[in-house]
């Protein structure tokens, strides 16, 4: 086991605490860079979605994970980013300009949402952000002169510095990857700055933060603005990737998916956003795969255990019928959310840390290390 010996403050806030980080992240980056030349075009397309979802996940982590302000309205921020890009594109605004403008506008709207949200905590904030998202969705459907209403908007192919970048080209993937990496590095820097520390202080105890001199209102609004702006940037990429946007793409369902991203990944570390994004994006192809191959596999297993061909055929058709039931995806989503909340509250990254610690401490690992404390005393109503 490695012991980090920190002698001054600079050691404590290092981005890469020890040399192992350079090796592992270097390998990861190299793999990501050669990915477009190795993977199939379908997987590449999924990988682009992973990048976009992970960017939104990082944005949501800043707000929910580190500032402790739950939001179920991030689909609305994504929509604002996407629609701003599509609208500006109609007037031949170059990509870098509308990319920044979308993020900026979304950030401003995020700050405007943040102001009223100052007075709200817990459940009220969740309800308020849901309402905000529903109102935005309705505005997108009704403001036809700008958004083209329910018919949706076409998004033209991205052109960067005179070069067209089709949505399934490796260049587009590199662009998304660059945005994700910049977002992550920027967020890491933010979190080790005084601002980031203020965020975490607010999350842990608003009263304590205030009494230590943190301007709670200012930092909450900042957190909302930053989170919304990053989501707006992701929205531009989202619009280009889909090449067509309409209001029904940005429903509450999508906001919930973003929350699931950080919930499954783990809400205490940026790794969580990426792991959660991989999970959410890959669950679709995985389910399709199960639908196609699972019946045959189960029948094969049954046959090896001595089931006759007739029984095996029966099993195969039963499983196939089950797998093609409508709404199976929703049920699986539901079960996954509940199981993660109940049994893996720290998410996939938490599980990874547990496994790592298990081997580091080999015979001495104890489960209680990661146990959360239950609080039965405090009533959130009196906050």
């Amino acid at each position: 086991m490695r012991f980090l010996f920190k002698t001054d403050y600079e050691d404590d806030i290092k981005l890469f605490p020890h040399s192992g980080y350079y090796v592992s992240y270097g390998i990861l980056l190299a793999l990501l860079l050669i990915a477009p030349f190795v993977l199939s075009s379908y997987l590449m397309s999924q990988l682009v979605f992973v990048c976009i979802y992970a960017t939104v996940g990082v944005a949501l982590l800043i707000l929910t994970g580190f500032t402790g302000q739950a939001s179920l309205g991030h689909a609305a921020f994504l929509a604002i980013g996407a629609y701003t890009a599509a609208y500006l594109q109609k007037y031949n605004v170059p990509f870098p300009v509308y990319f920044l403008a979308s993020g900026g506008l979304t950030g401003i709207i995020g700050a405007m949402v943040g102001f009223p949200a100052l007075r709200l905590t817990g459940i009220y904030l969740v309800i308020a952000t849901i309402s905000f998202a529903l109102i935005v969705e309705e505005i997108l459907a009704r403001w036809e002169s700008v958004t083209n209403g329910n018919e949706g908007m076409r998004v033209k192919t991205l052109s960067l510095l005179g070069v067209t970048v089709p949505r399934d080209s490796p260049t587009f993937y590199f662009l998304c990857l660059a945005v994700l990496v910049l977002t992550i590095v920027g967020t890491l820097n933010l979190l080790r700055s005084p601002t980031g520390r203020a965020f975490v202080a607010i999350r842990d105890s608003e009263t304590a933060a205030r009494s230590m001199g943190v301007n709670v209102a200012l930092y909450k609004v900042k957190s909302f603005a930053i989170s919304a702006a990053i989501t707006g940037f992701a929205g531009v990429l989202f619009a280009h990737k889909l090449s067509f946007i309409s209001p029904e793409m940005f429903t509450l369902q999508l906001s919930i998916e973003f929350i699931i991203v950080i919930l499954i990944g783990g809400t205490f570390s940026l790794h969580g956003a990426v792991l959660g994004a991989i999970f959410i994006v890959m669950i679709d192809p995985f389910l399709t795969y199960l639908k196609d191959d699972m019946p045959g596999m189960i029948a094969g297993v049954a046959a090896t255990f001595g089931a006759g061909p007739a029984t095996a055929g029966n099993i195969k058709s039963t499983v196939a019928a089950f797998a093609s039931l409508n709404g199976l995806k929703g049920a699986i989503y539901g079960i996954i959310i509940v199981l993660f909340v109940l049994f893996e509250p720290l998410g996939l990254y938490g599980r990874w840390l547990k496994i790592k610690l298990f081997f580091q401490l080999f015979p001495l690992y104890k489960r209680a290390t990661f146990k959360r404390q239950k609080i039965y005393v405090k009533s959130e109503r009196n906050r």
Binding site: G122, S131, I135, I256, G327, G330, V338, V341, Y376
Partner: protein
Amino acid sequence: MLDFVQQLVSGVALGCVYGLIALGFVLVYKATEVVNFAQGDLMMLGGFFAFTFIGMMGLNYLIGFAGAVAAMALFGMLAERVVVRPILGYPQFSIIMATIGLGYFLRSIAGMIWGTDDLKIETPFSHGVLRIGSLVLAYDKLSVIAATMILCTLLYLFFNKTTLGTAMRASSENMLAAYYMGIPVKRVVSIVWAISAAVATCAGVLLAPITFIHSNVGLVLGLKAFPAAVLGGFGSIPGAVVGGVLIGVIESMAGFYLPEGWKDVAPYLVLLAVLLLKPEGLFGHHVRKKV
């Protein structure tokens, strides 16, 4: 004028359904400080149970109604035992997510079992109308209003006058202290979930003649019930119903007098306004935190 009254009555009837769902939120919130995002889906499931008993098995309306309520009360206890109890005491956000997951699950399962078509339950109130002068009031709407008033009164008395109700209020204020005082907190929570599922079922069955039952009805109406609960002050039983009625009336009036589109947004605009101007709602208490 006649139009106005007509709109008012249908708004009140719809609002009563919102109020009944909001009542479910409030009950669970009052007793456990937890908000059940699957409340609308419990309502939907209750409606489907009633449809199975009345429409498919051909039972008498009242017997089928009672059967659905009993079945859903048990289901509510089961849901509490499996999903909520293990995470009681953790941050609210975990429980919100768990109930959202439960809602997803219920919606898909209901879609698988009962299909995705709109279903209709024949009730004794389905067809008749009451005429007062030139005013025409449908019995199905009046039945919703009457049933809501009765349920609300009963629950209010239950919470404020009975020992069990007091125990529920105590365990919401401070679970640990309530436990020390000899209140079986776990059983209390489980009973609260049974009651709130039963109330949701009443909403589902009463709603059935007005809008049909389908697997997404819970999501749609559940989201509308949030403004109702917030307007009434999360945690007040009469407040939930008054809030529901107000939201129903506002929605119905906005649909009639304002341009298209306002109908769907109006409840949420009201909600945001309430949260900004008077976050404790119409009937809530404003409590300052002591450090």
